[in-house]
């Protein structure tokens, strides 16, 4: 080199010994980037995907074109960590157009993209297990107590109704008991009166014999006459006493009849009380019938929303205000997020009510710093086919209070027949059919507000019988539920994401409650009337029997007393007694009174 000056020749001023190796290194790096980027990207997608899901992630190919800013992924499969022979998600092809200029600004902007052949919950040929997963214990839903309480209430009501309708209250009725007592008493009284009549007759005959003997030999028998007269007097008094008792028999029958009437009235009151039912609460019944599926699905949706929300960007202002240590960095453009998906076309297949449905739609304005965007993130999916579905989700996290809106409308969803309610107590079988479904949900902060509307025309509902079911009640319920021809419900949502609350407004509950209540009350009324008729019939039978017994007894006793009267009169003539009682007069007494 010597003392030479810098030669103007541009080639000579370059220190080739330094530059050439570095140029070679640069070329090698560029070549590596060109040919090694695809495998590197493949590795990064698979490894980060597996770290995130805990299950296998498979990617058939990843191709990039740096000049065009294009990234293409083919054959992406993400295994489901909870079901290792199924895929969580599968995509046939994903093509993303990346803004390369934004990459130099340290930002990833997807200008446009298309994901096609997207499917969820598909089968896979081999296990997607990466590691042994500990299954989390799922706690009870916050909505369970509400539904359980309503179900318990309605189930108890029906159980109680069935039990009461099945019950036979005969052993608890007073009328048969009183009638039985009266019958026994009449038997005893009749036997006693007969015995006294027979004894009176025997004593009269003995007195007659003694009087005749005394009259045959007055000198010897004169001493016995006073004693015989005294005995005769006693017999006469006994005869009068018996006559009075027989005379009072109709009065006794009247008293007994009153007793039976009182018992019958008490029985009527008892039967009515036993078969008295309040009406079922329609709202409560709606909770029973529809609460369980709604609660299950709502809790599941809330859990999913909470999961999705936790993964959405926090939108911290710290991320936005990042400054250099020396000087001030001036942005000559509006602040823009580090990650921004401007538009991503989606073509996916997802099961709707068991039918694979083809959706098309788009995902727009997704970002890690939504505060910097003018529009909220939006997901739109539309299915046109056998089951038309429209889904729109708007996530606005540009303010301090995040807000999500969800709109879902499905029409003509085929529904399989299903059983709702508690099969041990109250369950209904709904016939298969098609339904319209509409969800409007707004999440502001942690608060939920919205509604779910459901309409199933041509719906048949039948009660489910089990071994303990009351057949009569089931028949009545079948008849009552046969009048329901459509099922409509609107669920009003409130509360928070962690503790959602809902109220179901549906005519179903009221229709069912009216049907069931009317059926049960009708059954109770019929049973009550039948029991009262039975009690009245038994009482009348007893009364007739009682009167017959009285008449028979009265005639029998009067006949015997007539004989006794003649005997006593004869004795009185012999013994000189003045007391007389006309037998025909006795026979005419009370026969009319004893009749009812």
């Amino acid at each position: 080199m010597g003392d030479g000056r810098l030669i103007p020749n541009s080639w000579k001023i370059i220190r080739w010994k330094y530059v050439a190796p570095r140029l070679l290194i640069f070329v090698a790096l560029m070549a590596s980037a060109r040919f090694g980027l695809d495998p590197l990207l493949h590795y990064l997608i698979v490894s980060t995907g597996q770290s995130a899901t805990g299950a296998k992630v498979e990617l058939a190919a990843a191709e990039t074109s740096l000049r065009a800013g294009r990234l293409e992924l083919r054959g992406l499969q993400v295994a489901n960590p909870d079901s290792l022979l199924r895929n969580l998600v599968e995509a046939e092809r994903a093509e993303l157009l990346i803004d390369m200029n934004a990459l130099f600004h340290n930002r990833l902007v997807i200008r446009n993209g298309e994901i096609s052949g997207l499917e969820f919950d598909t089968e896979r040929s081999e296990s997607g297990e990466l590691e042994i997963l500990v299954e989390e214990t799922v706690g009870p839903s916050a909505l369970d107590p509400l539904v359980a309480q309503a179900s318990e209430w309605a189930g108890d009501w029906l159980e109680q109704a069935g039990d009461r309708l099945d019950s036979d209250f005969a052993d608890q009725l007073q009328t048969p008991q009183v009638a039985e007592d009266l019958e026994q008493r009449w038997k005893q009284q009749g036997a006693m009166l007969r015995a006294r009549t027979d004894e009176l007759k025997a004593r009269g005959q003995q007195l007659e014999t003694e009087f005749r003997e005394a009259k045959k030999n007055p000198l010897r028998g004169i001493e016995r006459i006073p004693a015989l007269q005294a005995q005769l007097k006693t017999v006469q008094q006994e005869l009068i006493s018996l006559q009075l008792e027989i005379k009072n028999l109709p009065e006794q029958v009247k008293t007994d009849r009153n007793s039976l009437n009182v018992a019958r009235k008490a029985d009527e009151a008892f039967i009515r009380e036993q078969l008295k039912f309040g009406r079922l609460d329609g709202d409560n019944l709606t909770q029973v019938m529809l609460g369980q599926p709604v609660a299950k699905n709502l809790q599941s949706a809330c859990d999913w929303l909470a999961w999705a929300r936790n993964r959405l960007p926090t939108n911290s202002t710290k991320q936005i205000a990042k400054q250099r240590s020396r000087g001030t960095t001036v942005n000559f453009a509006f602040a823009q997020p580090k990650l921004h998906i401007e538009r991503l076309g989606l073509t996916l297949t997802a099961p709707v009510a068991g039918t694979q449905t083809h959706f098309t739609g788009s995902l727009t304005n997704v970002s890690d710093q939504p505060r910097l965007l003018a529009e909220p993130a939006r997901l739109e999916l539309i299915a046109r086919g056998e089951i038309p579905v429209t889904l729109e989700v708007i996530s606005d996290r540009r303010t301090d209070t995040p807000r999500e809106e969800l709109f879902l409308a499905c029409s003509a969803i085929p529904l399989a027949g299903q059983t709702v309610g508690n099969q041990d107590k109250l369950a209904m079988r709904m016939s298969p059919g098609t339904a319209n479904f509409r969800v409007e949900l707004v999440l502001t902060g942690e608060k939920i507000a919205g509604s779910i509307a459901f309409l199933q025309p041509n719906c048949q509902i039948a009660p489910l019988a089990n071994s303990s079911s009351n057949p009569t009640l089931i028949t009545a319920l079948t008849q009552a539920l046969g009048n329901i021809d459509q099922l409509s419900a609107e669920v009003q949502l409130a509360g928070t994401l962690k503790r959602p609350e809902f109220k179901i407004e549906s005519q179903l509950g009221q229709q069912l409650a009216d049907g069931i209540s009317n059926a049960v009350l009708d059954l109770a009324s019929k049973k009550s009337e039948a029991m009262l008729a039975e009690v009245s019939a038994k009482m009348n039978e007893r009364l007739t029997q009682l009167e017959t017994t009285k008449n028979t007894l009265q005639q029998e006793l009067l006949a015997k007393l007539g004989e006794n009267q003649k005997l006593v009169e004869g004795l009185a003539a012999i013994g000189g007694s003045d007391e007389r009682l006309s037998v025909p007069q006795l026979g005419s007494l009370g026969s009319g009174l004893l009749r009812k």
Binding site: M1, D3, G4, R5, L6, K12, I13, I14, R15, Y18, V19, R22, N101, F104, H105, N106, R324, R326, G327, T328, T329, V330, N331, F332, A333
Partner: protein, 171 residues
């Protein structure tokens, strides 16, 4: 290995012993001055460094310039910030800045940072005076200094090692 370890010393000795021309020394120092002033961590500093190393300039003097002006540059950061701010917000060239920014040139080069722009402008402003002064200094000082230093055995040995290295006799 020993050759690699002694390389800075050898190059420094070569610079002082007038193996490089005064223009090379002056260019090296000027580029070192600019690199020293500009905040690091942007493409501007890297490009200037590559120019220093890729052109036939005196690298040891350039390194001295970098060290010296990195230290001195901190004292003029305030002025550089004011100057850079004035340039960046100057309305007539705002469109130019926006174009550079949109094309991702200014963010990579750091030309949207007030201190980078200010220090770069200061460096450019001082470039010619620095070059002229350093050239004059090299012309006057390099030869007498060389003569004086060659009286020392260690310096002669270092110089011999550098020549040997250039001839491919590295140990």
């Amino acid at each position: 290995m020993l050759s690699l370890a002694l390389r800075p010393l050898r190059q420094f000795a070569q610079a002082l012993l007038a193996n490089d021309s005064p223009r090379q020394v002056a260019w090296g120092f000027t580029l070192g001055m600019m690199i020293g002033l500009v905040p690091k961590g942007n493409l501007t500093a890297i490009v200037l460094g590559m120019i220093l190393l890729g052109l036939r300039t005196n690298k040891p003097v350039g390194l001295v310039g970098i060290c010296l002006f990195t230290y001195l540059g901190l004292f003029v950061d305030g002025f550089a910030h004011s100057l850079g701010s004035a340039v960046l917000v100057w309305e007539p060239i705002r469109g130019f800045h926006e174009t550079l920014f949109a094309a991702a040139i200014s963010p990579l080069l750091g030309w949207n940072n007030t201190v980078v722009v200010g220090q770069l402008l200061i460096g450019l402003y001082l470039a010619y005076p620095t070059y002229w002064l350093m050239h004059r200094f090299a012309v006057k000082v390099q030869r007498p200094l060389s003569t004086w230093l060659l009286r020392y055995k260690a310096v002669r040995w270092l110089r011999g090692a550098e020549v040997g290295t250039q001839w491919g006799m590295e140990g």
